[in-house]
């Protein structure tokens, strides 16, 4: 099954809390059900993305790591 990503964010090199703030801004522009993909290098972004997804109700569909880069896919919640 292929998935279509609506927006990709390069958050590499940014430190906490910038990855979450840039993601929150980008998510606002998406339509319900759209997927957002983000790449970050701040290790703190892993718990922060999980907590942000839980708190805002936008599901964290994927959270993986490739070397020093963390990869996240968030889904914009249905209204």
């Amino acid at each position: 099954m292929s998935i279509t990503i609506a927006t990709t964010l390069d958050l590499k090199g940014l430190s906490c809390p910038m990855p979450i703030i840039k993601t929150a801004k980008a998510m606002k522009a998406l339509a319900p059900g759209d997927l957002l993909e983000a790449f970050a290098t701040d290790p703190g972004s892993v718990p922060d993305f999980m907590a942000w997804a839980r708190a805002t109700g936008n599901p964290l569909v994927e959270s993986t790591q490739d070397g020093a880069v963390f990869h996240f896919i968030l889904k914009k919640k249905e209204i």
Binding site: L14, S15, P17, M18, I20, I21, A24, D48, T56
Partner: protein
């Protein structure tokens, strides 16, 4: 004739660089510092002005009194840097030629970027702190909301610190039981640094300061008295205090020396401009992902000064580079404070809040004028 060194900005970083380069080059360089007002302002005092614990006059001194006699002060605004011509253009039309240039221009606050944001109060300028104090003096009951409307901003612990000081202020006035204090945080904790959050969150709870996480302020409705987050939440208030969005100074943007927010890209250790080897940037001015604070400007200034002095004297670059050192005090109210210390290689540590840290901060604030700008503290 010696090398011409020009420093733009007479804040803490610029003043230290100017004094140290003049001292270390021993007459082999001529140092000029350009400042739009000629008044040196001690910004860490703003939050005390906002609760009436400090007088605005105590936070300002003529820059000329803080400079060595062999540093030239030019009171004029810098409008543009012509890096190709090694020239700084000033508002008066005057031009300054340089061999080495230091950008110590700091940041500016942009509350107007927040829709409805001008209806909020802040303690990020002296005028803002005075206006906030007047509003607090007229305040008798209701909900005070403290939030963050843009990152990065100066002095990361300031919102938490202000919440504690505000709690003290309202208790002293006998109206704490008629007031709710709500602290909005960009993350799910009080502060970006986990260790410090763990230390201050129980104290926030103890003082009855309500913490709301993942509330990144997006807009304000000053008529309905509500503030809305990027996350879609709306909260009512009677008095709103926001940390305004920050950006680099106009001269950086006009000279195309920075990124889209006007922060200058520099090497995180040498503080040299990423593309222009005869330009340094220090303090708030840079895009280094580290705290925008006086301590960072101070530590970076000593590194930049030593590098410039070595170049002037034809010596090898100094071995000591900027290691990401940050040191902040954080008032936790009721006469106590803690500190936050870290660098690029060591995670932040904060001791338990104690009276001695509060007194250390008070002592530092008082002795600042005779120690820091002159470069007397390492």
């Amino acid at each position: 004739m010696g090398a011409e060194i020009v420093v733009i900005g007479g804040g803490v970083g610029g003043t230290i660089v100017a004094n140290l380069v003049a001292k270390q080059t021993q007459g082999r360089a001529h140092v000029t510092i350009v400042d739009a007002t000629g008044i040196h302002v001690y910004q860490p005092g703003f939050l005390y002005v906002a609760i009436g614990l400090e007088q605005p006059a105590a936070l300002q001194r003529p820059e000329s009194q803080l400079l060595r006699h062999d540093v030239s002060l030019v009171i004029d605004g810098a409008t543009r840097v012509d890096a190709a011509a090694h020239m700084v253009l000033l508002e008066s039309g005057r031009r300054l030629q340089y061999d080495h240039l230091v950008l110590a221009t700091g940041s500016r606050t942009m509350m107007g970027e927040v829709p409805g944001g001008l209806g909020a109060y802040d303690f990020y300028t002296l005028a803002g702190a005075k206006r906030l104090f007047a509003a607090l003096e007229a305040f008798n009951k209701g909900t005070i909301v403290i939030g963050v409307a843009g990152i990065p901003y100066k002095c990361p612990p300031a919102p938490v610190e202000f919440a504690f000081l505000l709690d003290d202020y309202l208790r002293a006035r006998g109206i704490r039981d008629k007031t709710e204090i709500k602290l909005l945080s960009p993350l799910n904790r009080a502060f970006t640094i986990e260790a410090t959050s763990k230390l201050v969150q129980p104290i926030l709870a103890e003082r009855g300061i309500e913490l709301t996480g993942f509330f990144n302020v997006e807009s304000v409705d000053p008529v309905a008295k509500t503030v809305t987050s990027l996350e879609g939440e709306t909260m009512g208030y009677d008095l709103l205090i926001l940390v305004p969005p920050h950006r680099g100074q106009q001269v950086i943007e006009s000279s195309r020396l920075g990124d889209e927010r006007g922060w200058v890209p520099v090497d995180k250790n040498t503080l040299k401009h990423a593309q222009l080897p005869d330009i340094w940037a220090i303090g708030d001015t840079t895009s280094i992902p580290i705290s925008k604070s006086g301590s960072v400007a101070h530590y970076e200034a000593t590194v930049a000064a030593a590098e410039i002095a070595a170049e002037v004297k034809g010596e090898a670059p100094p071995a000591h580079v900027y290691d990401g050192k940050v040191m902040c005090f954080l008032e936790t109210g009721q006469g106590k404070a803690t500190t936050i210390r870290f660098d690029y290689d060591h995670p932040p540590v904060s001791p338990s809040p104690a009276r001695r840290w509060h007194w250390a901060k008070a002592l530092f604030n008082k002795t600042y004028w005779h120690t820091v700008p002159q470069g007397r503290l390492p």
